[in-house]
Subunit: 449 residues, 2 copies
């Protein structure tokens, strides 16, 4: 009994054990929980993972594989195992975990694994593979505790005990009718507490939240989180009960969606693996940088247009960098707040309108304050009040544009059904660069030359 993460001592102890013989390694492994061994797997060579999986008993080996991070590629480990061992492990896995892992493999590899399984298991996994990865169907587990609505308390408890041989953990008992139509939920606690041998029908909570198999995973996560559910039932178009999505899957979905949001608004492809190699990183980021280059040429065309102005007043270059930098950062601020707000809440049109209006106001005030600072600097340092005034106007105008686009563009994208996080800082800062230079250099050429 201990509260731990895998710290450096554990890691080096385990690493050392890997150098020893199988017996020694086995006895050290026995001290660790499956999810700790899964963390170790992030830090060791593929051949050592192979060896450890072969040393572990099947149940623990399957837990380790289920707990491995996606980025450690459990599917590669699985496909390289001896077919017999592999089949044992896959049959031990929950269907949803098995499906997640197998779905990452090539079709012929999937086939190779599935043909060794029992007919039932293979069919269940094939069925799950047919749902889109990012829907309730793709997340759900078909193993669950399910009782008929017409059972009595005593028979229901017998059924639950029998079904729970197969199912490690459950928190909710689902209730169906004779046609497997979902009728509601009942907690084990309520069944036990019920006085006398009443029927499930009298205990079932019929107003349970459920989702369809094709419901988007973000929606599933929102519902589970909003109603504080440990699991949410998944039904088909006829309300037939197909499976359940559990809170631990939803925690993973939330982490994934958050990673996607933070990467996308920073101009990184959502598929980039955080611990991937440089080749993947270049592939994921170079396209965005080339888009950025295109937009940068646009901004630079504005500068080019005012080349004469700059040749006459080279000091403007020094202020250009300030206007552009401030605009970009103010836009990133508005963008981050807006994208996060859209992720967490469903905004009404009125709220969206107010959000844009608010960012407009914030941009104006922040622009005026920082613009005034630069005005004072230009007056005292460059002894040019008119230049300061031009800068003040350009800064205020640019920060208004920053707020307006930083909030407005993601909200507009959401409205037309496009992922708002794609309005990355790369796109938004184009606006602030272009308009910032237009304002500064345009005003300068009118008022200062």
């Amino acid at each position: 009994m201990q509260s731990f993460e895998l710290d450096k001592t554990d890691l080096s102890k385990l690493r050392k054990a890997i150098e020893g013989d199988d017996q020694e390694l086995s006895s050290i492994l026995a001290e660790y929980h499956a999810s700790e061994i899964a963390i170790l797997f992030d830090n060791i060579k593929a051949e050592d993972r192979q060896r450890i999986i072969n040393l572990l008993e099947v149940e623990k080996a399957s837990e380790v594989i289920a707990e491995m991070s996606e980025e450690a590629h459990p599917e590669e480990l699985l496909i390289q195992l001896h077919p017999e061992k592999r089949t044992e492990i896959v049959e031990e896995l929950d269907y949803d975990d098995a499906t997640d892992i197998i779905s990452q493999l090539e079709a012929h590899e999937q086939h190779e694994i599935l043909e060794d399984l029992s007919k039932d298991d293979a069919e269940s996994i094939r069925n799950l593979l047919s749902y889109h990865e990012e829907t309730a169907g793709g997340l759900m587990n078909t193993q669950m505790i399910k009782v008929n609505i017409n059972l009595t308390k005593k028979d229901a408890i017998d059924q639950i005990i029998q079904q729970s041989e197969e199912i490690e953990e459950f928190y909710t008992v689902f209730v169906v009718d004779d046609d497997n139509i979902f009728k509601g939920i009942v907690s084990l606690k309520d069944i036990i507490k019920a006085k006398g041998n009443v029927k499930i029908m009298d205990m079932v909570k019929p107003d349970a939240v459920y989702v369809n198999a094709d419901t988007d995973q973000e929606e599933v996560a929102k519902l589970l989180s909003q109603y504080n559910l440990t699991s949410i039932p998944v039904v088909d178009g006829y309300l037939k009960l197909l499976g359940r999505v559990t809170f631990d899957d939803v925690i993973d979905v939330l982490e994934d969606e958050n990673t996607e949001d933070i990467l996308k608004i920073s101009g990184v492809s959502e598929d980039e693996e955080l611990a991937g190699n440089w080749v993947d990183a270049v592939k994921s980021r170079l396209p965005w940088l080339i888009i950025n280059l295109g937009t940068a040429f646009l901004a630079s065309a504005v500068v080019r247009y005012y080349e004469d102005t700059l040749a006459h007043l080279a000091i403007l270059s020094a202020y250009m960098t300030i206007i552009a930098g401030m605009g970009g950062n103010a836009a990133t601020q508005a963008l981050a707040v807006t994208v996060r707000r859209i992720s967490l809440y469903d905004l009404t049109d009125k709220q969206a309108y107010r959000a844009v209006l608010k960012e407009f106001t914030v941009g104006m005030i922040n622009g005026a304050v920082t613009g005034a600072i630069v005005l004072a600097f230009a007056y005292f340092f460059d002894a040019n009040l008119m230049l300061g005034f031009v800068i003040f106007l350009a800064m205020t105008g640019n920060l208004i544009i920053a707020g307006f686009t930083g909030a407005g563009i993601p909200l507009l994208l959401k409205r037309v059904g496009i992922d708002p996080a794609i309005a990355s800082s790369i796109i938004i800062t184009t606006f602030t660069d272009v308009f910032g230079f237009l304002l500064l250099l345009g005003l300068a050429s009118k008022l200062l030359l």
Copy 2:
């Protein structure tokens, strides 16, 4: 039985009901779940919230208040209620929810609420208020199902049924000895399945994960998510059982931490409320923009230093904006990937070193590719191969710096115990602005004039 969120039809139906009389409103409210009414509360006036809470029966009213988003300020609603109603509601709330809400109030308001409660309730909440908000103690609920390790199956079930009168939902039964020392967990399922009248002692799983009251909430969330637990027991320094943190609290923590991360790397104060007004937004963002202004002056000082170079070759201004913009975006990419990776995983020194090396390589390649594009442009458009060459070198150098600082600075901060997300894009882009200008203008003044 229905799968819903509060859509526009529901919202306008509820809004219309608010205009009607109390009886009409009550009957409409009865159709909605507490967490749906909590969402409605984001969209209506304070006085209407007040009225609805007063119309609801105490149990539902307390659920609504518990489910209200932090940003809708449930504490303000609570403090304005009639003291009698308020006391009823607070006594119905779980201790952890009550504590969260009350902690947002002024000391005299807290006192006002607590003095009306029963001695037991007031003491429990006062006790919880003493823990730091962002620790296991601050998150935990002291209400839980707890049995003595020496009980027999039958007595344990009786105890559980009795305790569950008070506790709506539970998933795990905690086991303690006579001194309330935590001894492990047992699931209700295992108790029921146990044959004969065995003792809890023979069923308890002693290797349960637990946390201390002062464990940071991020650590708690990691453990619960890693071990797929519905709840995690909280103990004091003597291993006495104090309470439990449940998965729904952890989901909220994850959402909060993710909001903080995304805001901080975008240069927004972590405390800014997403739906706050413009005054709060200005307060939260202006300080960062002023820091940014300071760093922008630094970059602009570099430009100023090369004023003569720019006066001779004004076209450099057009390329400056490209180099600076690309450097800033490449740095933001490296920063986002690194900050997110640190949030999700504990990196070893070797992994941290490799991450920086990877970003260095990525920067070099992306810099060379985009630099070559600009080189070609300068050659064909400005007919100046040497200028193109200078730009190529500056771009490559700047993107190397972008990768190096984007990954290196957050990792360094983490290493010395500072929140890595504070290495916001504002800080990182200073490096790329300053070094980008130094490289471009320095090389240009040496090679082109």
